[in-house]
Symmetry: C2
Subunit: 541 residues, 2 copies
């Protein structure tokens, strides 16, 4: 088995998919952020510049067999970064300062153990690699104190064991979202975990980053569906019991979930699954504004029957995303409404999605419609909902297009209680907008509310502006810092579901306090005394 090479090496997903913007979208973009200067790739794959690979000890090759060690430039490059804006900006520059010395792909947990043993002994840094879709610098080849570094590709860990009686499934870390769903689907069940990265991200990554999916309001965040987990660490092999609940002390499972490779490697995860839904129904509504829509969602989240998917775009995103995405698949009356909306200000687009048995969907839809109507939202129809569903994984493809045109496009997310959500929304949007304007690149700043919880919700920001050619990373860092500081000042979390990685590590002390960081570092010291596991991430701020 070889590492995957089926995605764009410089961008997102399927190499053939590069959406084009229509005239309406281009016009709005020009009007709002100014004229763009194209941003071509500085080098093709063959001419891309990587530092030479350091030699690795023969024991490492012996641990997995030579056929499981890959050191071609392409494999090194493909494992040298995730898929955040900064990663892709570096790719466009045609050269990277660092890359793994090799990609090692253990066949099973035993080989994985052997690799960790060699790397601990030899002081070789290890970056666990699943789908490579991190948008927070989670898989960057940072060596820390170690002269050598490998990317540990988990793609061969593909076990699937389904227990239909207990509705659980043990899944190998290397399964991509669709592969896991396909295997579960053969048993009639689903995990229901559909983040935007679903098509390429892996089970191990979902667990290591506390992922939340677009349907997490209904199916639960990934950490909430993990029933047990295993961690192979340099000093230990941890497994939690597969019991539904225990009161036996602090939850080790919750130390492993979210550990982002800095404590060890998650080779497999046992998750709770559900029967595949008989019915799927997506629809769109238009609320009077973001605050009104958030109130509707709060009512639903605190009531007895939330949809699986509920998502509210603020006024800026409503206008902007309708403008950019175009009327895909929307026909008839809804099409007219759509076209009208593309040029109108105000209003907040609400997407609701129901999945389940017919009876359950009907009941919850009735509660949801009641809430939406009481909040003065207007029905836009199922076609508009299906249009969202159809495009639910398209965001990163659109980013490729916009970056190629010369734009900076980035997203970030946070969460807070309902009580402080609007304050957080305003403060972060302002911080991003101000930072962009101060740099002479005023931009679009969009936000949507998703992942509704009884006590609060997440906010997901997207911003688009001209890039500062030649200073793209500095431009990005300034906005990111402004947004992060605004989040911290409001008491929001630095990340609701993208994880910490390298980018948010400086904010972990604000998140968990000095004492909390000391505790997590003590855990790392116990499990990884040589500090080989994913240096420079999570606890390194």
């Amino acid at each position: 088995m070889e590492p995957r090479r089926d995605t764009k090496w410089w961008g997102w997903g399927d190499p053939e998919t590069l959406p084009e913007l229509d005239e309406v979208a281009l016009g709005i973009l020009r009007e709002r952020i100014g004229a763009l200067e194209p941003w071509p790739l500085a080098a093709e794959l063959g001419a891309f510049s990587l530092p030479p690979a350091q030699p690795l000890p023969a024991e490492l090759t012996a641990a997995v067999g030579a056929e499981r060690v890959f050191a071609s430039d392409e494999d090194r490059l493909r494992h040298a970064s995730g898929r955040g804006y900064a990663d892709l900006a570096r790719m466009r520059a045609g050269a990277l300062e660092d890359a793994p010395d090799a990609v090692v792909m253990p066949a099973d947990a035993e080989q994985l153990r052997a690799v960790l043993d060699v790397c601990s002994r030899e002081g070789i840094a290890v970056v666990p690699f699943g789908g490579g879709t991190s948008v927070v610098g989670g898989v960057e080849p940072l060596r820390g104190a170690h002269p050598r570094l490998i990317s540990l590709d988990l793609g061969a860990l593909r076990g699937v064991e389904v227990d239909l009686r207990s509705l659980t499934a043990r899944l190998g870390a290397g399964l991509r979202g669709p592969e896991a769903e396909e295997a579960l689907g053969r048993h009639g069940v689903t995990l229901g975990h559909f983040p935007q990265s679903f098509q390429y991200a892996t089970i191990g990554g979902f667990a290591a980053t506390r992922s939340a999916g677009q349907a997490s309001s209904g199916y639960g965040r990934f950490d909430a569906v993990v029933s047990s987990v295993r961690l192979l660490a340099p000093t230990a092999d941890l497994r939690t019991l597969e019991t539904p609940h225990t009161a036996a002390g602090p939850a080790l499972r919750e130390l492993i979930v979210g550990s982002e490779g800095v404590l060890g490697v998650i080779p497999e995860v046992t998750v709770r699954v559900r029967p595949q839904p008989a019915v799927r129904r997506y629809e769109a509504w238009m609320a009077e504004g973001f605050e009104a829509a958030a109130e509707i969602v709060r009512g639903l989240a605190q009531g007895p029957g939330l949809p699986e998917i509920i998502r509210v775009s603020d006024e800026e995103e409503t206008q902007g995303s309708l403008a950019l995405s175009g009327p895909r698949g929307v026909t008839g009356k809804a099409f007219d409404r759509y076209l009208g909306l593309r040029r109108r200000r105000g209003g907040a687009l609400v997407i609701v999605g129901f999945e389940g048995e017919e009876e359950s969907v009907a009941r919850r839809r009735s509660l949801t419609v009641r809430g939406l109507r009481a909040g003065a939202a207007a029905y836009l129809g199922q076609a508009a909902g299906r249009s969202w569903e159809h495009g639910r994984y398209n965001g990163p493809y659109l980013r490729d297009t916009l970056m190629g045109m010369g734009a900076m496009v980035e997203t970030l997310e946070t969460s807070h209680t309902w009580t402080r959500l609007e304050e957080l929304h305003g403060a972060v949007a302002k911080a991003i907008g101000d930072s962009l304007s101060a740099q002479g690149t005023p931009g679009l700043v969009w936000c949507h509310l998703s992942h509704a919880h009884a006590d609060g919700a997440s906010l997901y920001f997207t911003f688009i502006s001209r890039r500062r050619a030649g200073a793209e990373l500095e431009q990005w860092r300034q906005v990111k810092r402004a947004a992060s500081e605004a989040i911290v000042a409001c008491g929001g979390t630095i990340t609701h579901h993208h994880a910490v990685g390298r980018d948010h590590a400086p904010y972990m002390e604000a998140e968990v306090g000095r004492g909390g960081l000391d505790v997590l570092r003590a855990v790392k010291e116990e499990l990884d005394p040589a500090g080989i596991m994913n240096p420079g991430k999570l606890l390194a701020g």
Copy 2:
């Protein structure tokens, strides 16, 4: 404010409450476990023998003020044990080998901080004390390496802050269950946490032990409703953010919840609350047997509408508990059925309870009734359900009565996936029964399933036998060991909701592995390097 002295010093709860068994119950008991030899208290409170108190440094008194340090024999005795069978057996003996040197009752978190600072410096062991209702030796005054020990009574930490918009409440650790509910009730909300210890256990204890309540199938286990928590540890003051969810690394909250006082003290907890239910409906059903009933519950737990309370007694418990509890409050036709059942073998009593809005209760009851009827269960009526509800906190009172008559009465609990639940049920019941018989004191062994999760459920065992006079603790230890080993052999958890304390500490390695124990001990070393926090518990096995 003084420490509470409103409960039996030698038993459970209200000193005036000591239920009597009727003739039917006494007859069945005699028939099943043999004639009992009364077990009187060896000494009254005034004559109870305690070791002399070690002198404590003046700095400790200065930290809280002399009016917050209590060293009377009564206060020392009342803080010298929890309320497990072994605790109460020791009480009946009239003498304890150890007791706290004083009870210290800080007024607030600042005083608590000062107490921890003095105790860290001076090497004084600290046992955090909430309701003192631990049944696993969680508050025993074990000194470890320290010559002096205080009981840290949290009864003065009584803050209540309700956020109705986000449906959360910050609650002081020292609030008893009914006090918290009363305060929340003034705002129209409820925590919905009703363990059998509800009347005397505290908020801090619920969090420190990962408590589950009788209605946890509906409202969620206590750990699942904690949105944020604070820990005052010797080296740190940890607070987690009050955001609904975060992906920022391992969950510190889940390290604090369940820490049982060995890492520090939980002064307050923020929990998610719900509107008070408009409707409460409890009812009883009779299934053909335990396995059939467990299948019904599995179907409900994996479906779209579980009752708040669902509980199934196995055949032994059904017969035994009906026999012992008598027909309280049951009249008419249900009364006749009840009387008949008291002498009949076979059948598994199912209690279901619904709490919520009328519509939600009606809907879920309809689903539940459908499931029960499909599983061939027979309706016993609401009166029998109310009888259970009326007696839901009576178990510990009945234990006082039975112990006074000369019986050993103990409970223990575990959980597993549905796939292995029946195996666990059989193995543990057999282990307990065999151990009792081997000791010449054959007994009643009951079990009920409660706390239904989608992937499994908990099993709660009760056993009653003659005591081995003069060797009560040895007798208890043998049975407890047999049961614990059977649980471990089946891969069940050593505790679903009673926690670990002293009694289960030897099984923590089986629960979390050697590596897991090392990790938790590294956390303790970081937060409590002097090892003063609750020695001999949780991680001391």
